[in-house]
């Protein structure tokens, strides 16, 4: 090994570091450390002139190691690696010492913080002496993507990706694509969700590269960004393409259950068409309730029914995954604002569906058998901690949706009194115009704060009792119908999604983004992207845009046809390895197997699968498994350095 020649660069980060740490002293101290040839401080190391300082020194002082003492490597490691690479040094010969998050930001005492910063730098220098040059690996990237979920977000992502030239596999668990947008009536005063979805279906049909799997689910995902293998279970539809939508089967089917495509407003049979423009345009049999009596098969004149269909497993090679499995509406418990105790207490989804001309009521407002003369929306049902079962978060879309439908009611039934009982009206951005319009149409807004409204079911009818905040008085509103503006929940099957894709969730239960602010459509795992309500409540427009955005990320990932893999991964020293296979068991990525080398069992790491987590490294009893970025020799040097011991190992 050539003698290390180390340059140390101490960043002020404006006052972020320099306010608490005496950066000049740290730089001076660094000069006294073994093998340090040059040490400097600068106001912003990450700025161009800061990077230039490093580059010049590498050339002038013939440096072969660089230590940057600044912020967390999660922020600027790439910046500094690139800088040293531009100066001709292997980019893995750069080590970062985090003296901001780990020091200046968490201390106030300047003297002690300076001492701590010195120690952090001393450790980094000790490690840097043992850094090895590493080479990145390249693997081919599949030119295809898997989109999970056929709602508007998934459809939009699929369209963009297919137009980009990728093969797209769209996997939807229900028998039709379209998601909830197809069902929720008017999404703004002029546009029906079903129309948007139908237009999207037209585009999808024109795209030969989009392969749709309905009644299907992802059951296994292995591999890594650029090279996933996805196993899809295609559940039988029991109805083939021969179906002409004549509907005779539906009439003879003896099974009747609540119709989830109308949010329970009516019933459907076990053989059913989800909605008029459903796609693919065939009936489907709900295997969960079908008793296989065979009546439908007998009556079908086109031989379109095949009750013997079996589930199929399809294996797909894909380069990227877009998760767009949406949300579930909040499920009020029985008795929550009278829910389930009175036929005239319905949910916002049921109301919105009802006002769609294709609903069971043909767009008429008929609740409990009659057109209500007075109707009240209760907001924040299931959101903002209103009831014991409610979530803490705001569901974002319910205020606008309630107001939009209130306006629809006022347009169609001007004599009906409409109340919106709310905590805060969340018509953010340009949706404010709907709030204004509702006011002009004499929709009445009733504000509550901490005391939630009570629904009273009496022989005289329904009443809402609420402490009206602006007049500070208890009022009692007689109503014919109550609409519970229910919020959004993570989809019911999110646990399975997590198990299969290894995405993680935040405290509120939705999938967590790589960064809430700046990477809202990326999962922390490379190659997995997020669209729509799976990351939290959104409206339709936002979900659609997220579909396009997630597609952009997948395009970027796959556009070069190959993927670069970080070399900071595990490596086996075959001479030391005893083949005990402890590493095989602990690896969360199934990247390690046991192979036979000249008759000896030794561990083998599949480089592309290794994520560099270091678990095997820690578990290996013989020290055979080494993490190339955190070798034992490097970590020991660091440990010795922190306790003031010899820097040499």
């Amino acid at each position: 090994m050539t003698e290390p020649r180390i340059g140390v660069y101490v960043c002020h980060c404006g006052f972020n570091i320099a306010g608490t740490v005496d950066v000049k002293k740290v730089a001076e101290y660094a000069k006294t450390l073994p093998n340090v040839v040059v040490a400097r401080d600068y106001v912003f190391m990450c700025s161009e002139p800061g990077q230039d300082l490093i580059k010049q020194d590498i050339k002038e002082h013939n440096l072969n190691r660089v230590v940057v003492a600044s912020c967390s490597p999660s922020l600027h490691e790439v910046t500094f690696r690139t800088a040293v690479a531009e100066a001709g040094l292997n980019k893995y010969l750069m080590e970062m010492a985090n003296i901001r998050e780990h020091c200046s930001w968490v201390h106030h005492d300047k003297e002690k913080a300076t001492e701590k910063a010195k120690e952090i730098v001393r450790m980094a220098v000790a490690k840097a002496r043992y850094l090895d040059p590493l080479e990145e690996l390249e693997v081919k990237a599949e030119q295809s993507a898997l989109v999970l979920g056929g709602g508007v977000a998934g459809l939009r992502a699929a369209l963009e990706l297919a137009n980009y030239g990728l093969q797209v596999y769209l996997v939807e668990k229900s028998p039709t694509i379209g998601g909830k947008a197809a069902l929720i009536g008017y999404v703004d005063p002029k546009t029906k969700g079903a129309e948007i979805v139908s237009k999207m279906f037209e585009l999808i049909k024109e795209c030969p590269r989009i392969h749709i799997f309905t009644n299907s689910e992802l059951i296994q995902l292995s591999g890594f960004a650029g090279n996933y293998t996805a196993k899809i279970r295609v559940n039988p539809r029991y109805v083939t393409e021969k179906c002409t939508l004549c509907g005779e089967c539906e009439e003879v089917c003896p099974i009747e259950i609540s119709n989830e495509y109308n949010f329970g407003l009516n019933k459907r049979k076990a053989i059913f068409l989800p909605f008029n423009n459903a796609y693919p345009p065939y009936y489907a049999i709900d295997h969960r309730v079908c008793v296989k009596c065979g009546e439908c098969e007998k009556v079908c004149r086109f031989g379109a029914i095949n009750l013997k269909q079996e589930p199929k497993i399809v294996e797909l090679k894909v380069g990227a995954l877009v998760i767009a499995t949406g949300y579930d509406p909040y499920r009020p418990f029985k008795g929550e604002y009278g829910y389930g105790l009175h036929e005239s207490i319905i949910t916002l989804f049921q109301l919105a569906r009802m006002l769609d001309p294709e609903s069971p009521t043909k767009g008429e407002l008929i609740i409990g058998g009659k057109i209500p003369k007075s109707i009240a929306f209760i907001q924040c049902v299931g959101s903002r901690n209103t009831t014991p079962g409610a979530k803490e978060y705001c569901s974002r879309m319910c205020c606008t949706t309630a107001i939009n439908n209130a306006i629809k009611i006022k347009e169609k039934y001007p004599d009906t009194n409409v109340y919106i009982i709310y905590k805060d009206i969340m018509t953010y951005g340009s949706d404010e115009s709907l709030y204004e319009e509702a006011g002009k149409k004499l929709v009445q807004f009733v504000k509550f704060e901490d005391k939630i409204p009570r629904v009273l079911i009496t022989p005289e009818g329904l009443f809402i009792e609420v402490f009206e905040y602006t007049i500070q008085e208890n009022i009692r509103i007689p109503v014919d119908a109550i609409v519970l503006s229910i919020g959004m929940l993570p989809p019911r099957d999110i646990e399975e999604l997590i198990a299969v894709t290894r995405v993680s969730c935040g405290g509120e239960g939705f999938v967590r983004e790589a960064h809430l602010k700046l990477a809202p459509v990326e999962a922390p795992t490379k190659g997995i992207f997020l669209a729509g309500c799976i990351t939290g409540p959104k409206n339709i427009l936002e979900s659609i845009r997220m579909g396009s955005a997630a597609a952009a990320k997948a395009m970027s990932l796959l556009s070069k046809g190959k993927i670069t893999i970080e070399p900071m991964i595990a490596q086996v020293n075959e001479e030391k390895c005893s083949g005990c296979a402890i590493c095989v068991g602990v690896c969360p990525y199934s990247a390690i197997s046991i192979k036979n080398v000249n008759g000896d069992r030794v561990a083998y790491v599949e480089k592309a699968l290794c994520m560099g987590c270091g678990t095997c490294n820690a578990a290996c009893p013989s020290g055979a498994m080494q993490h190339l970025g955190f070798k034992d020799v490097q970590l020991l040097a660091q440990t010795r350095a922190v306790f003031g011991g010899e820097v040499n190992v």
């Binding site: 404006g14 006052f15 972020n16 306010g19 106001v43 912003f44 990450c46 700025s47 161009e48 002139p49 912020c71 922020l75 600027h76 790439v78 910046t79 939009r156 963009e160 137009n163 980009y164 030239g165 999404v187 546009t191 237009k199 037209e202 585009l203 024109e206 978060y393 705001c394 974002r396 805060d424 969340m426 953010y428 951005g429 340009s430 404010e432 115009s433 905040y469 602006t470 500070q472 935040g506 405290g507 960064h515 809430l516 602010k517 700046l518 809202p520 459509v521 939290g536 339709i540 427009l541 936002e542 659609i544 845009r545 579909g547 396009s548 955005a549 597609a551 952009a552 395009m555 556009s559």
Partner: protein, 443 residues
């Protein structure tokens, strides 16, 4: 394969540029300022995670420099666009910086030597900069620019000009170690051919002087929220020390006024979407800086609609003791103390009340930077109109021109970033000349 023009180098423009460049598409990123960063570069922390704004933005700004296929055209504006999707011809006016940026290395020597001090826009005028300056310490590209209006050499005071025999000053030129100063630099016209255009020109704050009842500009201790953001920032005029303009003392009571210029039939009808959470964040920051300060937010509705927002609001109330009062206000100054008397209707009690504060922060409405030389249709509020947002996301009324971020409607950072990526997807299809059926409009 052809290129894409992005107008506006804020966080949305930056994200779109990075997404396109990663695909190998050539990107021209134009900004009227001398650095990218936009409004986010002015922020101290971001809600609801309290991430340091420049810490998360700077890596993205730095990333722009790593792509040889991203061309930054700073201090410039688009003059004219003609042609059509797939082949737009664009004329760009590059205004002189009076510094040869191929020579300047951002060392900052000139900015220390320059004798002329002027209010620093980056700190909302709360500190001073020189006539030759670097926009902010983490500017990308980090290059000096001369403010011609205030430079003694370029715009000499008439009397001094008469007396002097030769050209005045020249301090920056004499001290520049790379000989980069060019007093004779002329405006330049750049002609580009691009396949698609993304508009990401963002927003400005509404002018608080339009609301005389709040006394901004008259009462010293009334700040806009962007001014407060600089005041609380470690890179700000006071290095993060919250002090009053009138006496340099720490405030003991601060009030935030919401919906200033928004949700107001006199000015802008729309909700500005970011301000409830921004005020909540600022109140928390104030509490972190000055643990004994009392923070009160005057609001109409608290709009905590985004991911983690309501949780953040609850934290502000419970953990930090921020008080929220629903009511509209008037602000009077108490002449002796320069304190501020807020007269408000507490709608909880339908009662007119007054309360005294040391400092007041106005949560300003946003107004779109939509006065462009491209004939795009505008929607209500002057935001750029989306043609058919359901089927043709982020598209304007001209095919091949997309719009993202706050110029298309008031919104926060994650929504802007999402739209930017969405536009990158759509522009990439045009730039790579891939089939992209134009969907019909939903009526």
């Amino acid at each position: 394969m052809s290129s894409v023009l992005i107008v506006g180098g804020g966080v949305a423009g930056i994200q779109a540029a990075l997404d396109l460049a990663e695909q190998g598409i050539e990107v021209y990123l134009v900004d009227k300022a001398p650095s990218v960063g936009g409004k986010m570069a002015y922020l101290d922390k971001t809600f609801p995670t309290l991430d340091c704004a420049s810490c998360i933005l700077a890596p993205k700004m730095a990333a722009l420099l790593r792509y040889p296929n991203i061309k930054l055209i700073m201090n410039s504006e688009v003059l004219e666009v003609s042609g059509r999707a797939g082949n737009f011809r664009v004329k760009i006016l590059k205004k002189p910086t009076y510094v040869d940026w191929s020579k300047c290395n951002g060392c900052g020597v000139c900015t220390e030597k320059c004798p002329t001090k002027v209010p620093n826009e980056y700190n909302m005028g709360l500190s001073q900069r020189r006539a030759i300056y670097i926009m902010f310490p983490q500017a990308v590209p980090k290059r000096a620019i001369i403010d011609a209006e205030h430079c003694i050499r370029l715009n000499p005071p008439p009397k001094a000009k008469e007396k002097a025999k030769g050209p005045l000053c020249g301090v920056c030129e004499r001290n520049c170690p790379t000989k980069a100063i060019r007093y004779d630099q002329q405006p330049e016209i750049i002609d580009l051919n691009v396949a698609a255009i993304i508009i990401a020109t963002g927003m400005e704050l509404y002018d608080p002087k339009n609301l005389p009842e709040l006394g901004y500009g008259k009462h010293q201790n009334v700040y806009t929220n962007l001014e407060f953001e600089r005041l609380v920032s470690a890179t700000g005029p006071t290095n993060g020390e919250i002090v009053r303009k009138s006496d340099g003392k720490h405030p003991r009571k601060i009030a935030w006024i919401q919906c200033v210029g928004s949700r107001d039939v006199r000015f802008n009808h729309y909700c500005s979407a970011y301000c409830c959470m921004a005020a909540t964040k600022q109140a928390i920051l104030a509490k972190e800086h000055l643990p004994n300060v009392e923070c009160t937010v005057y609001y109409m509705d608290i709009r905590a609609f985004g991911k983690g927002f309501n949780e953040f609001l609850e934290r502000a109330k419970k953990e930090f003791g921020v008080r929220y009062i629903r009511g509209k206000v008037r602000i009077d100054e108490i002449p002796e103390s320069k304190n501020l008397k807020i007269v408000y209707e507490d709608t909880a009690e339908s009662y007119l009340k007054t309360e005294e504060y040391d400092m007041v922060v106005l949560s300003m409405a946003v107004t779109p930077n939509s006065k462009l030389s491209i004939p795009l249709e505008l929607a209500e509020g002057g935001f750029i109109k989306l043609k058919n947002p359901y089927l043709d996301p982020v598209s304007t009324t001209i095919e091949g021109i997309f719009v993202v971020g706050a110029v298309a409607g008031a919104k926060d950072i994650p929504d802007s970033v999402t739209e930017a990526s969405a536009a990158a997807a759509r522009a990439a299809l045009i730039a790579k000349r891939l089939a992209c059926p134009t969907p019909e409009v939903v009526k």
